[in-house]
């Protein structure tokens, strides 16, 4: 089997996390909404324990954690859930950036089709959205600013500290899509100025199908969201549906490990990165996104003259990699992120994303180098 280098798409599941999924599926399968016997009480205890652990990573209170099916749902809730409030307050101006995930861009496009005014902030060549441009388009009546934490295609950490300064004292709600950086970069998401945070479990070694929306209370009140689903009143009336206890417990365990093992994991990712950079230094490649802002576990490169799918196919027996985000690669659409960064169509079409984690085994880098050198020779 090739070594899996697509951890930005999804991570493997930690063994202790998988053990909890089994436990709460087979043995302790109670419903957290039925705390009238030990089955239900234990399920509820597990959910509240997980809520605490998930919140702790970003210094949020447990009552600020709303469990969802994943970051896509969380992003949709944070953006579309504001429609009623927007109509009431007549504030219908929304800002987001050109390098957001489709789970943000498409709900924002929906708002635009329904009468909202939208400004899309451009990106710089270093892979970060432009805070200067954001400052230019910010208006007194801006309802929502939606920015990502870490880009899923490039691994580039975004300038949230600067956005925090910009938005201090402004009434706009601030939503951050933290799917790719939660549990990996620990400082920026602690900002109390961020009103809403979208999180994903399967990017931090929990299974797919679980995430959260952190809603930071201000003066004791949640951001003015309306639910998108009805029928049960779970999660403080914001997200109806029986809680998947086994996934929630798993997410909690994964969040706990993300905090506890952070330094150790980061060290392993940096060591791995050194090997990747050593290999790349022998090749004709261009990095997409400034190295100084890129998190240790991922890199996006372009191989001039070699199409992404050609490289992926050539490498498929040694490493499993991707060319763009998992959510858009199946559509064969060129990366809107790299295009927004000013990369040429040729650079975009030859881009590759390698992403790894602390569980990634050793790679036969000599084999990778040989294959890529041969591709270069074929090209010339």
């Amino acid at each position: 089997m090739p070594v899996y280098l697509d951890c930005n798409a999804t991570t493997p599941v930690e063994p202790s996390v998988a053990a909890l999924v089994t436990r709460f599926t087979q043995q302790d399968f109670g419903n957290a909404a039925s705390p009238i016997h030990d089955y239900g009480l234990f399920a509820r205890a597990a959910v509240e324990h997980a809520r605490n652990l998930v919140g702790k990573v970003v210094e949020a209170r447990p009552d600020e954690v709303i469990f969802t099916s994943g970051a896509t749902e969380s992003n949709n809730m944070a953006i579309l859930g504001l429609i009623e409030h927007a109509h009431k307050t007549k504030r219908r101006h929304v800002i987001t950036s050109a390098i957001e995930h489709k789970a943000v861009l498409e709900p924002v496009e929906y708002l635009e089709r329904h009468g909202f005014e939208v400004d899309i902030v451009r990106a710089n060549s270093d892979g970060r959205f432009s805070v200067e441009h954001l400052a230019q388009v910010l208006r007194p009546d801006t309802l929502l600013v939606s920015t990502m934490h870490v880009n899923n295609e490039t691994g580039v950490l975004q300038p949230l500290d600067e956005v925090e300064q910009l938005l201090t004292g402004h009434d706009a709600l601030w939503h951050v899509d933290a799917a790719q950086g939660y549990g990996k970069e620990l400082e920026q998401l602690k900002s109390k100025r961020i009103n809403m945070l979208a999180l994903s479990g399967h990017k931090i070694f929990a299974p797919k199908g679980i995430g959260a929306l952190i809603l930071r209370k201000q003066d004791g009140h949640f951001p003015p969201l309306q639910p998108l689903m009805f029928g049960g009143g779970q999660e403080q009336g914001l997200r109806a549906g029986t809680l998947p206890v086994q996934l929630i417990a798993a997410f909690g365990e994964a969040a706990k490990l993300a905090l506890r093992m952070h330094a150790e994991r980061e060290e392993k990712c940096i060591a791995f990165r050194k090997k990747v950079l050593a290999l790349l230094s022998t090749l004709d490649v261009e990095q997409n996104g400034a190295e100084r802002w890129t998190l240790p576990h991922s890199i996006n490169i372009s191989l001039p003259g070699i199409a992404s799918d050609q490289a992926i196919r050539a490498l498929k027996n040694v490493i499993a990699i991707s060319s763009t985000s998992a959510c858009t690669s199946h559509t064969q659409t060129p990366s809107h992120v790299l295009a927004a960064m000013g990369r040429s169509p040729a650079q975009v079409e030859s881009s590759l994303r390698l992403s790894w984690c602390h569980m990634t085994p050793e790679v036969d880098w000599d084999a990778v180098a040989t294959i890529l050198h041969n591709l270069h020779k074929t090209k010339t």
Binding site: D28, D38, A45, H49, R61
Partner: protein, 84 residues
């Protein structure tokens, strides 16, 4: 520091300076000082630790609890004894 040491410290702190009553502190300390008996059930020990850390006599009741009261701690201690 492992979970048992953290539990011992937290129980002592909550007993000396918080509201944790002796009838809960004593059995919780017994768990903390018996890792050989409970090391296979670290998940519940972690849960107990969280409940002791956030022990509140006036914990809210309802669908979601933001603190833990004596019933929660006593129940987790019972689950540990029963080897749940």
């Amino acid at each position: 520091m492992d979970v048992f040491k953290r539990l011992e410290e937290t129980v002592n702190k909550q007993f000396d300076h918080g509201d944790l009553p002796k009838w809960l502190a004593d059995p919780a300390l017994e768990v903390a000082r018996s890792p050989q008996l409970y090391q296979d059930n670290e998940y519940l020990v972690e849960l107990l630790l969280q409940q002791v850390e956030e022990y509140d006599v006036y914990a809210e009741a309802g669908c979601c609890k933001w603190a833990y009261d004596h019933e929660d701690v006593a129940r987790t201690l019972r689950w540990l004894k029963e080897g749940k």
